[in-house]
Symmetry: C2
Subunit: 543 residues, 2 copies
Amino acid sequence: MASDAEDDAEVVRFLLASDTHLGYLERDPVRGSDSFNTFEEILQLAQAHDVDFVLLGGDLFHENKPSRATLYKTMSLLREYTLGNRPVSVELLSDPMDARAQKWSFPAVNYEDANLNVSIPVFSIHGNHDDPQGADTEGPLSALDVLSAAGLLNYFGRVELAADTRAKRKATEDEMIKLRPILLRKGNTLLALYGIGNIKDERLVYELESNHVCMYRPAEEPDAWFNVLVVHQNRAAHSARGFIHESAFDDSVDLVVWGHEHEQRITPEPISEKHYYITQPGSSVATSLAPGEAVEKCVAIVSVCGKDFKVDPIPLRTPRPLVMKDVSLPHEAAAAHLDVSSRTDVAKLLRTHIESLIAQAAREWDARMADVSAECRPEPPLPLVRLRVAYDAQLALGNVARFGHEFAGRIANTKDVLQLQLRRGRAARAPSSGHAVRLDKDMLPAEKLERVELADLVQENMRAQHFDLLEGTQLQQSVMRFVEKDERDAVEQLLQRTLPEIESKLAARHLDEFQLQQELSSAPRTAPATAAAYVAVTTSVGQ
Amino acid sequence: MASDAEDDAEVVRFLLASDTHLGYLERDPVRGSDSFNTFEEILQLAQAHDVDFVLLGGDLFHENKPSRATLYKTMSLLREYTLGNRPVSVELLSDPMDARAQKWSFPAVNYEDANLNVSIPVFSIHGNHDDPQGADTEGPLSALDVLSAAGLLNYFGRVELAADTRAKRKATEDEMIKLRPILLRKGNTLLALYGIGNIKDERLVYELESNHVCMYRPAEEPDAWFNVLVVHQNRAAHSARGFIHESAFDDSVDLVVWGHEHEQRITPEPISEKHYYITQPGSSVATSLAPGEAVEKCVAIVSVCGKDFKVDPIPLRTPRPLVMKDVSLPHEAAAAHLDVSSRTDVAKLLRTHIESLIAQAAREWDARMADVSAECRPEPPLPLVRLRVAYDAQLALGNVARFGHEFAGRIANTKDVLQLQLRRGRAARAPSSGHAVRLDKDMLPAEKLERVELADLVQENMRAQHFDLLEGTQLQQSVMRFVEKDERDAVEQLLQRTLPEIESKLAARHLDEFQLQQELSSAPRTAPATAAAYVAVTTSVGQ
């Protein structure tokens, strides 16, 4: 697949990373700086390897509305490491104003701005965590837009979605998803960068299957370009249509960079039936203590020469070692004559497992540092340790969080070192599959919390209300945007959209103010939101 | 006071503005862009007048946590207008790293950064709206810090306050408020820029009276410097100690720039007993429909040559005309035989007044545009119109907001064109003085809303709760920070600070978990916050 590239003047080299989740657990006293430390390592690697640019696969930020401290630190890091005198040697051939219709005179690609000394341009699409939100005059904005405005990052892959066309037979020209590439050249190597920022999997599946995704290609020598497509979607088949098939993309693509999935599979994998490869960088910080996150965290240097490329993974040094183990108490009980009703016995057993995991983490760290001289080695970080404990009867353990506190100062995640899984016979082993979450009375609090899906909670609560004036589904979506994306105006926006309609509905009934008030207050199930809408109609309070 | 400066090479010229309140009413369909339009005009004036820098007096932003759209637009405007090839001709003599201890290598003053092409540096202190908040590893951060990190603004005047020393007799060296100036030179003109970002008036009064405010002065030729001090405090005597005396500052100061007060008094006023002048730019956007805001909005070009200076006001063109009038219904009733119980009559009278205000606004606009040729004149903006209506009996008017809707498309503030003031005999005329707000049953909703003080609401609600484990005053302050500053972690931070104490208190009583739970649930008035604290102690939920 790759020929070794000798001539630097012909080789485009970029650093590939994804899912840095800046700000993840930022208030955690132990892990608060983890995401930033690793992002800094990534930027240092970009400098050390003298790359032409950095390419990120989305979820730069963990929160849709990053905190001020996160924004401040991210901007400071980008300013520190990506500005400088080193000239950028990839030439931009596409229109530097392309990425976004702007009223500003400065270009959308930062290194084209004569007022900024950019040494390493950073290109990124948005992920599901940092997707555009809001309905400002500027249109929906992503946190990446703020970095773009500052000239510190080049945000691309914003997909302008038309209204859902799934009902219709054929999309019109306007409704196609148009992918306009960023065109780069170095010597004779031509690189086209396509991006699809995260959209709902189901929608993208539909649009891909309907041939509604249109990749613009250069008119001249279209086949001479090395085409990179960056996406941020589910790759694992969580549900029938809730993921994107590996072979879903156009065969003109040479390399797909797959963000979103946190498991590191950065070494390119060929895709059957297609000519392209997929590289999946994985996350640079573990946001769940799952097996996929325990794979060695890497970034990679991608070298492209003509239509050839190679990918050299670089293991990251800053991520905490993550070690995990599954323990089945029923098995242990049978094998080792464990008395599962004895608090002391159970605690002792779990302690032994955790100690061995801590030792394993220490060995992994030593292996990672093998080629670092003793005096240059940093202090080993506290590891992330996860013990998944299956049990099928009442578990004699007392308070789980307090149990973890025993390991304070030795592991990074005392609060959730144990993950308890109640087994109800053999059949009921699978964790919640999305529907009908069952919260049993005998579950431990931590266990209950792990099983609750935010969307289900919202849905359940909404169902309990009855809205006479507002449409339930829309309100539900707004509440989800409020909760998940911290989109604080989501409900107000819905009201503003819906009010004219409500007004005309009420007006048509020719009620006077008193009758109206009576009618609303006598309606037995009028929910607070309805009342709020009514207040807004009649007094216009709430600017 | 000022000699006309001929020699440009010796004259430091800067544009002075304050209280731009970016993002004010950003979701208002009519006024949403007002603050940005005027900020853009200010930056355009800075370019047109070829100033050496821009100096702002605080409250650049209206919200402590500006929305993403506001941040995006502000950064775009600063990038558009303050970067460029024009060289900055004021030399920075103080340490460019001075403003803030930093782990970064880039300077705190943006035009010292070789990687940025700054044409017009913008210097600003924070106001009460955009003061530093939060307890991150980086220390409290202001929204201005984010602009600083991006290299788009130079934030100064952050005051590091020691713990309140009011109890002690004398502050130690460490507890002094140290004002380190930004030192600028152009030719032989030496300008020192001191800033005190907003702090509580009472605290600053105390520190000033106790001589705890220490102005660092250059060792060489200290008297050769023209000293500008920028503050953002109350100047009007709202209460005994809730404002700063005009004469409170050191006599080494030559010019005080007074932010916070929205009334334009930009022409310098000499201060008796002192040698300095005060210039009060006022706000560039009206955030209340009060007489002070109706004074013509201005910025100014300040020219400093040696120890001489002059201030040339420039009226702003973009702010909406604001016209106001007081109407006393009792008087009108007596004079014009108005029947105040007739809805039609009252409405008719108020309509007439509003019409005449709209006409007055049109005349004011024409006067403002007098020297603009007809073809260059912009469309006149919808004016801000405020009619303050005093009444002493039941007011026959129906719905106030609906009344304003009549003028949709003709005025900018249909929702609050009327301000109703109930007079209770002659004595009870004064509006709420902060204590004991009285909300009478016969008040109109809009009137009630205007009288309610956020702090009172919080206090009242807190008093109704009984907290066994948490300290009331601290909790109250945290809730205020949550509400006023959008400091979403304020309550959690308090809990985190207080938890160890609570834990040891509980531990000392040697209760087992069951007893503890019983005790807490049997306490008749345990408030939700206490329960939350308890959950946090026992399960450590809520990372």
